[in-house]
Amino acid sequence: MESDILLIRERQIADIADFDRIVYLHRKQIYQLAYRLIGNHEDADDISQEVFIRAYKSIRKFKGKSKLSTWLHRITVNLCINHLKKKSRHGCESTDEKTLDMQVYSLGSDRTKTPLDNVEAEELTRQVKEAVESLPVAEKVVFVLRVHQELSYKEIAWAIDCPIGTVMSRLNRARRRLRDKLKDYII
């Protein structure tokens, strides 16, 4: 964190090399977050690049009060929420079948598992992914930030701009919904 702040404060991303470094250090994390919230490569690609473009444009607003990564998370989450809302307004499926196939294939190609294990694992992956996809956007965001990205409640609250109590209640609701959808795998 300290190095991030120094990096920014020294020249406020005045030259492109610093910007490149920031992109280089955070790009995978940002892409993964976008991917997990959006669920397909094309949109995750688009959003992750948009995140860095916005960061580049508004780097002077970054005061170093949070980690740079949290600030980037915040931008990512906002863009993803807008994207998901837009998609839901247009009634599009948020899960990309091709992407899902690719993921299942990558799981299925695990050589340490038997073919039967792989089939079951594929099915489970699909079910879990669909269950997460079906969560209301606000709950999904909190769940992904906590469980996939392992952010603290404080970081999540900052990223989505809401009180910690709201994070707590949304996360509880998300877990309950998921439990209901995945009850066959819970008991």
């Binding site: 020249r11 005045a14 030259d15 492109i16 090399a17 610093d18 490149d20 470094r21 992109v23 280089y24 790009r27 995978k28 892409y31 993964q32 991917y35 997990r36 490569h41 995750a44 690609d45 690049q49 860095f52 473009i53 580049y56 690719m102 993921q103 990558s106 799981l107 694992a121 489970l124 992956t125 879990v128 992914k129 997460v132 769940f143 906590r146 469980v147 996939h148 603290s152 409640y153 707590m168 209640s169 996360l171 509880n172 877990r175 998921l178 439990r179 995945l182 795998y185 819970i186």
Partner: protein
């Protein structure tokens, strides 16, 4: 404590987000309540499934995705700048046209003083528009431009650029440059002749650059061509850490290292047995008075058809890099990224 109140906090308890006093109360309750214990376990299982699925997916983009990521990002950033400039320009243009038309139309219908004020306002907007038209870049193919070229230290590469700059159609690749667009002042030529230097490298200075206005054109610089140095000897000759990968993807091997005379800079020559490319590394903020603020963004010299070299320049905090070769931009950009990653890799060790 009742189960309902406990359950509201079970998630935070599981995540270790509760203060110890509250966590202790929940622990006590769980010891006595099988229903809440089951709720906690179910949350735990959901998290496990979520993490397991995330690991299984690992959000894998296509294999070559990261290779082009930064280049794509830069292209998009550049595109946005152009669009934004064009948007503002277009908007101002429309405002001016509208205001002028409005002023002319109404001048016959209102009091003379007011009509004059409206006309003056319209003209002022027009003047603003003319003065604030965006600077055109090489990407836009500006037909009439002021240009500079670059001295690239090494004679053969300098010749390559100078050959390009003596093209019979110099206007076609011109770049409109203001003082702030020029970087690398000791490499620029032609600035003493009314901004009529030859065609050359597309350069950018930092915004609010401290670019020296009373600069002199550079003297040519020689490389100790006869002296090939070992990495150790070259490293001792400069204060910055030399980035010298032995192999650059796909098959360029480091052939030799030379010191640039009179500068805190080195030249690394790579070859694949058929063609060569040169990588120049120079300290920023060195005794030669190059400051990091003198550098900005990528520098790209694009060869025209039949011309000999492409060039990419960039800086990385302490070192400026210039990569020159006959290769097309795409492989050069790949090499640029490999060098950058090598630089960051060594910095992080």
């Amino acid at each position: 404590m009742k189960c309902n109140r406990i359950r509201r906090k079970l998630g935070a308890y599981l995540d270790g987000e509760l203060p110890e006093r509250k966590a202790e109360k929940i622990r006590k309750h769980l010891a006595e309540c099988s229903s809440c214990t089951w709720e906690l376990k179910s949350f735990h299982k959901i998290d496990e499934l979520g993490r397991w699925t995330a690991e299984a997916e690992s959000a894998q983009p296509p294999e070559d995705y990261w290779e082009n990521y930064q280049a794509n990002l830069h292209a998009r950033l550049e595109q946005e700048k152009v669009h934004r400039g064009a948007g503002i320009s277009s908007f101002l243009s429309r405002c001016w046209n509208f205001s002028l038309a409005f002023a002319v139309y109404w001048s016959g219908k209102m009091a003379p003083g007011l009509a004059a004020a409206v006309v003056i306002l319209a003209l002022a907007m027009g003047l603003y528009y003319v003065r604030h038209q965006p600077i055109q870049t090489i990407a836009q193919g500006s037909p009439e431009t002021e240009k500079i070229s670059v001295n690239l230290y090494l004679k053969e590469h300098e010749n390559a650029v100078m050959l390009a700059s003596h093209s019979t159609q110099p206007q076609q690749m011109g770049v409109e440059l203001g003082y702030e667009d020029v970087f690398y002042y000791d490499a620029a030529r032609g600035l003493d002749s009314g901004w009529s230097g030859e065609r050359g490298v597309f350069l950018r200075a930092p915004r609010h650059s401290s670019y020296p206005v009373d600069m002199e054109p550079s003297k040519s610089v020689d490389i100790a061509n006869g002296d090939k140095l070992s990495l150790k000897a070259a490293q001792e000759a400069v204060s910055f850490r030399i980035v010298a990968p032995q192999i650059l993807h796909p098959a360029y091997l480091l052939e030799c290292i030379r010191k640039v005379e009179g500068r805190e800079a080195v030249q690394l020559v790579y070859t694949n047995g058929i063609s060569t490319l040169s990588l120049f590394e120079q300290a920023l903020e060195s005794e030669e008075k190059l400051y990091s603020s003198d550098f900005r963004e990528y520098v790209m010299y694009s060869k025209a058809e039949g011309e000999p070299a492409n060039m990419i320049g960039w800086n990385s905090r302490e070192v400026s890099f210039t990569l020159i070769g006959e290769q097309e931009f795409s492989p050069l950009m790949g090499l640029t990224r490999a060098i950058q990653e090598s630089y960051f890799g060594e910095k992080e060790k």
